[in-house]
Assembly symmetry: C2
DNA sequence: TTATTATAGCTATTTTTTTCACAAAATGTT
DNA sequence: AACATTTTGTGAAAAAAATAGCTATAATAA
């Protein structure tokens, strides 16, 4: 059970496993084997066991895993056993879709603030959150104890917003803008570029088929 | 210059490089080195050269790469030198954000049809596209020559919609639902799970820091 | 009790991906 | 023309990740 440096691919798969286990639990399934998880999530059973082995022994030989037990372990490993306060900066198409997206709340990500610069957008409601002016960034981050910032502003504003968030104490940034951001080493950064996904498809369609 | 089996990570980086080159071109930069690209996109220069090497020799030793030339090569490699017709199934928060997202059109992905089942949503406009009833799926795919399908429906409906798309001739599926989809081997499938991204952040915040 | 079967956990192997480091080529300089 | 400088392209080495297969253990059946 070495614990240093967990591959990111493993973390992503754990997230997928946990969602699958949640589904099984709702269906009333009580135990599950690595092979079942593999089948349900599209990986190999050896991979499932390997991924879990980074964190301990959760199963019983000859039997499998208890669904809720394993689920709870994964939730804990993923840090989802608490609430994270999230700010979304940018309430354009993407920002507002993210603000309204149910999936986040379900997993403990509480969107507490949404900011924008556009006077037409400020004051509108996204669910029960009102879009506020960008100037309030520092104030809201501090008073609401926000740890995660989502960047949904145009590329040109992304770095500046990021700097302000980091300076005010945000610990992790999820960047939806197509811009490489600089953050201090201790801040967790993750980039999501929606076009990249379509372009990988396009590549696969265009290339060697 | 072996050409079989390009790593997916390479393809994703090519997409990022191409966007960076586009930016440079707009700024009037004419030549660029692998080191510059590396710095601008957050990878190593050796990585840049290795990635490009899968597809040929595009640079000049001692000099670097001509920005537009390399850009055009990448666009061609990524299959972005043509238009792809795209259908979005599901016009909820996510589906409509995707339909309205500018980034896709800019790269040659033309969203030609958006479908939903909800009578309250059908008939509404997303930009200049009207949301139509799901029943029209087969008809629209055929008459509009659609090759790429985006799944933005709830998990419970995802497989059925996918089957219908595939049956009607769609060649690639971008799946935003948290469900493992089955498609024939010749269909390109890519999953984007937005929650996974936040959960990777959460893991990194919770674990070893 | 003793086999038999199923399956986790672990170790070894293979494969894939990244990094390193250097020869080759182009340009600029003395 | 010779030399220095820059930077690509690439083979080799290293690192990382995935896969395969073996061993131990629990449950169950004989």
């Amino acid at each position: 059970m070495k614990v240093f440096k967990i591959p990111e691919a493993t973390v992503m798969r754990l997230s997928v496993y946990s969602r699958y286990l949640n589904q099984l639990a709702r269906e009333g399934v009580e135990t599950v084997s690595s092979g079942d998880i593999a089948k349900g999530t599209g990986v190999s059973s050896a991979q499932v066991r390997k991924d879990l082995a980074y964190f301990g022994e959760f199963g019983t030989r000859g039997v499998g895993y208890k669904v809720d037990e394993l689920y709870n372990h994964l939730i804990k490993i993923l840090g989802l056993d608490r609430e994270w306060n999230v700010i979304i900066v940018g309430a354009g198409k993407l920002g507002s879709a993210l603000a309204l997206y149910q999936g986040f709340a379900e997993r403990g990500f509480k969107i507490v603030t949404v900011l924008d610069v556009d006077p037409d957008i400020i004051g509108t409601k996204l669910g029960n959150i009102e879009v506020e002016p960008l100037e309030l960034l520092e104030e809201r981050v501090r008073e609401q104890n926000i740890t995660i910032g989502v960047i949904a502003v145009p590329a040109s504003a992304a770095q500046e917003v990021t700097d302000r968030l980091v300076k005010t104490g945000v610990k992790a940034i999820l960047n939806f803008s197509p811009r490489v951001l600089k953050v201090p080493r201790e801040v967790v950064l993750r980039n999501v570029d929606l076009s990249v996904n379509l372009e990988v498809l396009s590549f696969n369609l265009a290339f060697n088929r």
